[in-house]
């Protein structure tokens, strides 16, 4: 087989060592767990180290009309080709440099292939952090997290990761390099970085991100409240308490509403307070200046009490926090508030002993997660749980990641629901206001605009065609 004309160009762009070919290359980056990936057409894995190299790769691919799929550490799903077009998988994981750490402004500029976890490891010993409640997908690359909307952390205290992103660098299909410039806010036209941020690599390849970071909090406080089954609708009461607390300006790091089955599955049967069957628990962590964290905790406590809840003391919430943090490999964040005057590096080391990155625990799996408005959540919860039970599985559910507009409902069954059952469940919930991440492109009337925008920026349609808006919608 003669060499594909693209290959020398790729090698010229990133060096021959960083151009891999075929099934073996895919298996190599995907890891064993990925199973068998059989590329239906010539496929290269290319590993650039800089935006300039990405630009060279894209110029070459543009010339040859070869598809480019950016890949971080995300799902191996992306590695399975959906058609028989020649493609380049752009493995971003060599792009891991921190380009600028501005400790005055608390802003970091990093290459997009850096994982959130690696960044966090760099920040923690400096007394800094991505946020007290970092993304669940801590192992994902920053570029991967930001190219899909709604991903990453989502808490009243820190907002969404995309809100913390002050700018991105990217390479367009024709190799043009773009840097959206950094300012806390501006009024100079549309937010151009937001165009690239949600586009999952279909409009440009994100090569760098500028993120707002935080100082590690001085304190973290925990609280838990039981909404007993004797209440009319315990889950509704818990959601109402969340809503009331947020309306009272509380800015907790995280809140979660768990039914007893979910509590037991995630944190062990001993975590469940007695007599809770049919009720639920609201767990809370607040952080920051001690007085402020205490105020937030008190506000939430009062809101819970107003809804008929009984205080359980901090232990349950602390377990929730710590286990969750360990499970996601965020041991630092889990264990290490940084009181004023303490030594960041030492406390980081101690924290690491408690379970630093990599000291993974496990949490029970989730079968389906949906976004919903706060008002819709109680009904979605009830319907979801009933539906799972009707399928013959023992349901469990929790709700978390609240902001003033909504939250995420996590549903699962024992035994776990299979793919068909999940889809069925999603169909049942959709009419009640449940939204699955990235299931739609919003208003269908906008689809043709997205389609045309893609054509403007990527006239040959080479960028991540699998995630481009479907033509049906565009029509």
């Amino acid at each position: 087989m003669s060499r594909h004309p693209l290959e020398p160009a790729l090698e010229a762009a990133v060096g021959a060592d960083h151009v891999l070919f075929g099934k073996r290359a895919l298996m190599q980056i995907a890891g064993k767990a990925a199973g068998d990936i059989e590329p239906p057409a010539p496929t290269w894995v290319v590993q650039p180290a800089s935006a300039a190299e990405v630009a060279d790769v894209l110029r070459a691919c543009s010339r040859e009309r070869v598809m480019v799929v950016p890949w971080g550490t995300g799902s191996t799903h992306a590695l399975h080709a959906r058609d028989e077009r020649t493609r380049v998988v752009l493995d971003m994981r060599r792009m891991t440099n921190v380009l600028h750490l501005d400790e005055t402004s608390l802003v970091v500029h990093a290459q997009a292939g850096l994982t959130a976890r690696t960044l966090e490891e760099l920040l923690i010993p400096r007394g800094l952090t991505l946020g007290d409640f970092p993304p669940a997908a801590l192992g994902s690359t920053l570029g991967g997290l930001l190219s899909a909307r709604g991903a990453g952390r989502l808490t009243p205290r820190h907002g969404f990761l995309e809100d913390a992103c002050l700018g991105v660098s990217a390479v367009l299909a024709d190799g043009r390099t773009i840097h959206t410039r950094v300012a806390p806010r501006r009024a100079t036209g549309p937010d151009l970085s937001r165009v690239l941020m949600g586009s999952e690599g279909t409009l440009g390849i994100i090569t760098g991100v500028v993120l707002r970071i935080d100082r590690r909090p001085e304190s973290r406080l925990y609280g838990a409240h039981a909404f007993p089954p004797t209440l009319d609708n315990p889950v509704a009461a818990a959601i109402e308490a969340v809503k009331r607390a947020l309306a009272e300006d509380a800015r907790p790091t995280a809140m979660g509403v768990y039914d007893p089955a979910a509590l037991a599955a995630h944190y062990g049967a001993e975590a469940v307070p007695g007599d809770l069957a049919g009720g639920c628990v609201l767990v809370t962590a607040t952080a920051g200046l001690v007085d402020l964290a205490a105020a937030d905790l008190a506000i939430i406590g009062d809101a819970a009490a107003a809804g008929g809840a009984q205080p359980l003391g901090p232990a349950l919430a602390e377990t929730w926090w710590t286990m969750r943090a360990r499970a996601y490999g965020m041991g630092y964040a889990a264990a290490a508030p940084l009181p004023p005057g303490s030594d960041a590096r030492r406390s980081a080391l101690e924290a690491a002993k408690l379970g630093g990155p990599g000291a993974a625990g496990t949490l029970a799996p989730v079968d389906l997660e949906v976004y919903a408005r706060l008002d819709d959540l109680p009904r979605l919860y009830a319907t979801g749980v009933a539906h799972i039970r009707a399928q013959g599985a023992e349901p469990r559910a929790h709700i978390g990641r609240f902001d003033s507009a909504g939250g995420i409902l996590f549903l699962a069954g024992a035994p776990a629901l299979d793919q068909a059952a999940r889809e069925k469940l999603a169909d049942v919930l959709a009419p009640l206001g449940a939204r699955r991440a990235r299931a739609t492109f919003g208003d269908p009337a906008l689809a043709k605009y997205l389609h045309d925008l893609k054509r403007e920026l990527d006239p040959h349609g080479i960028l991540n065609p699998d995630r481009a808006p479907p033509r049906a919608e565009a029509a």
Binding site: L192, G198, A247, E248, T440
Partner: protein, 546 residues
């Protein structure tokens, strides 16, 4: 201006859409839409050049469907469409520089739905700011958006220009409180953004249309997040020894996770004026403001007083303190630098205020004040804070007096991260200071940075020279801002006046903006010449053409 026969066709096509009573080609109507509040145009008004950019036709649609039909009409005829709200923009954004059709958004000014349970509101774009906020207050809510122009601007204008209110430090800028929009695109389609919220895939269209200044379409409706009316508001003044110390203090507060609603640090000259206001206000205290008298008035009293105040302003401009300042800014600014702090015997004034639900606000205020003291601030008590609150829209009224007296004033609001902020302050101040008397305050703080609001006043003997000075200030000021790594606008937008600096602002990213433009408005009819999307015409040419 488009050809008269074209204008005739345009008017009659529009009349088919909205009815003939809601379309006009009358001179009085055309002239009333011929400018916004871009100060450069006000300079010309003294020579009778009050209406430099009249549109050919004005239409007053009452529904989104009508707006869409109007855009389609204009598109078919290939004539410019300029969305015109309250025209309070200060960059020429709403000026119909090529004539064409003005779509006045103000007839669409209703609250469509107020969801009190979830604290959100759907409101039409033409809603007046103050009327909106009052209606929300009456229902127990606030938007928390208080631009100095709240009396004279609209929700749609805020969205279109990415505005900021005086309490943005807590409530955010308008883009931070917007959940979704309804937009008529330049193709005449009606689209909604924010559908499915963050669960939707694809770009965040809301953030694409916010700030688009009428160049991509007409915003007809916004869904905004509300807050409950504050139960408690605590205000304070602090004195910081230097601008630098003040910046550090604000940064410390913000990075501690505190979110005061108001933070305003005045540089020495601005502090001097602010404190003088305070003295005047104190002197005038007790005077509740004369009741309105419907019939002949205080003929002597009021008219006399106005005339006197004007005469004395003129006097100041022409021959006294200001004259020195305005004619020789290069010398005067340093002199003021050294004099003013002594004059005032004070450092920099910092106004800070917390508000919100009672319990948290109390704690937040206490911690904020403590942080400011730790950073070297001296507590001046609540007086300066309350006075700021009382007078917070007052400064806008001074423009009349200054312009009527023959000088001109304008403001430039830039922003950057903290790391670059001191440099940004010095360089822009120096650049403007070559031509005008300049003062600044820091407001709109974020954990990662802050905006700086420069006010400058200048004077020249005639209009031509005045405009030359004006242009030089902007050109030097914005170049300095861009060089120092700041943004050229934090909340006033780009419009006509900053278009030439957009390339410096966004560099290669302009490619994305241009793509958005050609997708949303393929025929280029939407507010042409703005946002640096097309080379704006040389102003003199446009003025001549009109």
């Amino acid at each position: 201006m488009i050809h008269p026969s074209q204008a005739e066709r345009l008017a009659s096509a529009c009349a088919k859409v909205v009815g003939s009573a809601r379309v006009s080609r009358a001179t009085s109507d055309r002239h009333s839409y011929a400018r916004d509040q871009w100060p450069r145009v006000l300079i010309g008004m003294r020579d009778g050049k009050g209406a430099p950019f009249p549109p050919d036709v004005v239409a007053w649609p009452t529904t989104t469907a009508e707006v869409a039909a109007l855009v389609r009409v204009a598109r078919e005829l290939g004539v410019p469409v300029v969305p015109y709200a309250a025209g309070s923009g200060v960059c020429g954004g709403a000026a119909p520089i090529y004539g064409g059709l003005v779509i006045d958004t103000k007839p669409m000014d209703r609250i469509l739905a107020l969801d009190t349970r979830n604290a959100t509101v759907r409101v039409q774009a033409g809603m007046n700011g103050e009327r909106f906020e009052r209606e929300l207050n009456r229902r127990g809510f606030t938007l928390g958006h208080f631009p100095s122009s709240i009396y004279c601007s609209t929700v749609g204008g805020w969205l279109a220009a990415r505005g900021a209110g005086q309490m943005s430090t807590k409530y955010g800028k308008i883009e931070d409180m917007t959940l979704g929009l309804e937009v008529v695109t330049g193709r005449g389609d009606i689209v909604r953004t924010g559908v499915d919220g963050r669960a939707a895939a694809g770009p965040d269209w809301t953030q694409v249309f916010i700030g688009s200044e009428g160049t991509l379409g007409v915003l007809t409706e916004g869904t905004l997040r509300l807050r409950r009316s504050p139960e408690l508001r605590i205000l304070r003044g602090f004195e910081l020894p230097t601008v630098d110390a003040g910046m550090q203090a604000i940064r410390a507060v913000m990075q501690r996770g505190l979110r005061p609603a108001v933070v305003r640090l005045y540089d020495p000259f601005d502090s001097f004026l602010a404190m003088r206001h305070r003295a005047e206000a104190a002197a005038a205290a007790g005077d509740e403001g004369a009741a309105y008298v419907p019939t002949p008035p205080p003929a002597k009293g009021l008219a006399g007083r106005l005339a006197r105040s004007l005469a004395s302003a003129r006097q100041r401009v022409q021959d006294t303190l200001l004259a020195g300042a305005l004619a020789r800014p290069r010398i005067l600014n340093p002199v003021l630098d050294s004099l003013v702090p002594k004059l005032a015997r004070k450092g920099c004034l910092l106004i800070v205020g917390c508000e919100g639900a009672a319990r948290r606000t109390e704690v937040e205020a206490r911690l904020t004040f403590a942080e400011l003291e730790r950073a070297g601030g001296r507590d001046l008590g609540e007086g300066p804070g309350l006075n700021w609150l009382k007078k917070r829209y007052a400064v806008s009224y001074r423009q009349s007096t200054l312009f009527a007296a023959g000088a001109f004033a304008d403001t430039m609001e830039v922003a950057s991260t903290w790391e670059r902020l001191p440099d940004l302050y010095e360089s822009v101040r120096e650049a403007i200071g070559r031509h005008a008397m300049v003062m600044a305050h820091f407001s709109h703080a974020y954990p990662e940075g802050c905006s700086i609001y420069f006010t400058f006043v200048a004077h020249a003997p005639d209009r031509a020279r005045m405009e030359r000075v004006y242009d030089a200030i902007w050109s030097d000021g914005l170049s300095a801002a861009a060089r120092a790594g700041g943004t050229i606008s934090h909340h006033h937008g780009v419009g006509l006046s900053k278009g030439a600096f957009m390339a410096e602002e966004h560099r290669e990213s302009m490619a994305i903006l241009r793509s958005l433009k050609s997708v949303m408005d393929p025929d280029g009819v939407m507010n042409p010449g703005k946002l640096g999307l097309a080379a704006p015409p040389r102003l003199t040419d446009v003025a001549r053409a009109s």
